[in-house]
C-alpha cells in the first residue's frame, strides 16, 4: 500500500479529539482505585472501633499526609510518562522529598529514644503484615493505572510501570493508614515505604510486557 493512501485513510473521517482525555481517565482511575481500596479495606480489615481516638493523634494525619505527598508527584509524573516527549524525571524526583523527610525525622526520633525502645519503634506490632496489606489495597489502583497507561503512549515502559505502581502504592497506603494502629514514625519510614515499593517494583517489572503499543 502506498503511504499517501495510508495517510489519506488515517485522515479520512478522523473524529475531533476531546481535550484533557488523559487527565479525565486518570481521574476516573483514581475514583475507581480509591473506591476499590476502600471497599477492600472494609471487607478485609474492617473499621476500627477506636478510629475516633486514633484520628485525634497527629501521627494519624501524618501517615495520611505522607501517602498523599507521594501520590501527588506520582500521579503528576504518570500523566507525563503517559505522553511521548514529556519531561517526567523532574516531576518524579519530587517523590523523593517526602521519603527523605520521613527518613530524616524517623532517624532523629530513633536517636532521641532510649536504645531499648528502638526496635519496638521500628517493628511496632504489625510489621509482618503492614507492607503486604498496603500492597493488597494497592491492587485496584494498580489495575486502574495500567488501564490508563494502556490507552496512552508511554515510551519508557519500565518507568511508566513503576510510576503507576508508586501511585497505586501511595493510594493503598493512604487507605491502609485509616486502619493501621501504628503511631511511630520509624515504623512508617520502614514498612510503609516497603509496602509501596511492592507495587512499584511489580509495575517496573511488568510494564515492558503489559504496556507495549
Amino acid at each position: 500500500m502506498k503511504t499517501d493512501d495510508w495517510v489519506a485513510m488515517l485522515a479520512t473521517g478522523a473524529q475531533p479529539v476531546p481535550a484533557h482525555a488523559l487527565e479525565r481517565r486518570l481521574f476516573a482511575a483514581l475514583v475507581a482505585g480509591g473506591a476499590g481500596a476502600a471497599t477492600l479495606m472494609l471487607l478485609v480489615f474492617g473499621l476500627r472501633p477506636e478510629l475516633a481516638q486514633m484520628a485525634a493523634l497527629p501521627m494519624f494525619w501524618g501517615k495520611l499526609g505522607f501517602a498523599a505527598a507521594l501520590a501527588l508527584p506520582a500521579g503528576w509524573a504518570l500523566l507525563r510518562l503517559a505522553r511521548p516527549g514529556a519531561d517526567w524525571r523532574r516531576v518524579l524526583r519530587w517523590a523523593a522529598l517526602p521519603v527523605a523527610l520521613v527518613w530524616a525525622l524517623a532517624g532523629w526520633a530513633l536517636l532521641q529514644s532510649p536504645e531499648a525502645d528502638r526496635w519496638g519503634q521500628v517493628l511496632g506490632s504489625t510489621w509482618r503484615s503492614c507492607p503486604f496489606n498496603i500492597a493488597l489495597l494497592s491492587v485496584p489502583m494498580w489495575i486502574a493505572c495500567f488501564w490508563v497507561l494502556r490507552r496512552a503512549a508511554p515510551t519508557r515502559l519500565a518507568w511508566a510501570g513503576a510510576g503507576a505502581g508508586l501511585l497505586a502504592g501511595a493510594v493503598g497506603a493512604l487507605v491502609y493508614a485509616v486502619h493501621c494502629p501504628e503511631m511511630a514514625l520509624p515504623f512508617v519510614a520502614v514498612w510503609y515505604v516497603a509496602g509501596m515499593m511492592i507495587p512499584t517494583v511489580l509495575g517496573a517489572l511488568l510494564g515492558p510486557r503489559l504496556l507495549r503499543w
Binding site: K2, T12, W213
Partner: protein
C-alpha cells in the same frame, strides 16, 4: 526546526479539531521526515522503511489524544518515532543500532523525503483479520469516506458503535502489525 515546529503544530491542532485536510497534510509531512530519518537509521534494511513509516504514522494517529497543545509537536513526534524504531530494532534483534544515541529530536526534522515508496503490507488482507464490527466501520468511514451517520445506516450499527469500531479497529491493526495480537 522552529519553523517546522510552528507549521506542524498548526496543522496538528487543526487536525485535532477534525480538519481532515490539515490533518492529512500533517501526517504526510511528518511521514516525509520519518522516511528520511528511518532511511538513514535503517540503511541496512531499506526494504523495511516504508512499512515502519506507515506503522509509526498509525501509532501517531492512534495516540493523537496524548498530544497536549503546550508541548512541542516535534518532541512529541520524535518520542513516538524513537519508541517505534527501538521497538522495531528489538523485535528484529538488531543489537548494534540500539547503541546509537536517539535522543536528538532535531535529527528527525533535519531532512524530509517525499518519495513515498509502496509498503509491502496489504491493508486489505489485514482488514480481513478484523471482526466485522471493526472491519465494516473502517471500510465505510476510512476507505470509502462515508460519514459516521451513513455508515451507521448502511451497517445497521449505532453511530457510537461505528466510531468505537473505527477506533478499536485501528488499534487492533496496530497490534497485528506489531505481531502481538
Amino acid at each position: 526546526m522552529e519553523i517546522v515546529e510552528e507549521h506542524l503544530r498548526d496543522l496538528l491542532l487543526r487536525g485535532l479539531q477534525a480538519d481532515a485536510a490539515a490533518y492529512e497534510r500533517f501526517l504526510k509531512e511528518l511521514g516525509a521526515h520519518l522516511r528520511a530519518f528511518l532511511r538513514r537509521r535503517l540503511s541496512q534494511y531499506l526494504g523495511e522503511v516504508e512499512d515502519l513509516v506507515q506503522e509509526t504514522l498509525l501509532a501517531i494517529h492512534n495516540q493523537r489524544h496524548t498530544y497536549r497543545p503546550d508541548m512541542p509537536v516535534t518532541a512529541w513526534a520524535h518520542a513516538i518515532a524513537r519508541y517505534k524504531l527501538i521497538d522495531w530494532l528489538r523485535s528484529h534483534r538488531v543489537k548494534e543500532a540500539l547503541n546509537d544515541p536517539l535522543d536528538d529530536a532535531g535529527e528527525l526534522f533535519a531532512s524530509s523525503d517525499e518519495e513515498a515508496a509502496e509498503a509491502r503490507r496489504d491493508l486489505g488482507r489485514l482488514l480481513q483479520t478484523l471482526p466485522e464490527r471493526q472491519r465494516l466501520p473502517i471500510v465505510h468511514v476510512k476507505l470509502e469516506g462515508l460519514s459516521v451517520v451513513e455508515a451507521a445506516r448502511l451497517t445497521g450499527m449505532s453511530e457510537s458503535a461505528v466510531k468505537v469500531g473505527v477506533h478499536r479497529g485501528l488499534k487492533a491493526l496496530a497490534a497485528k502489525i506489531r505481531g502481538t495480537a
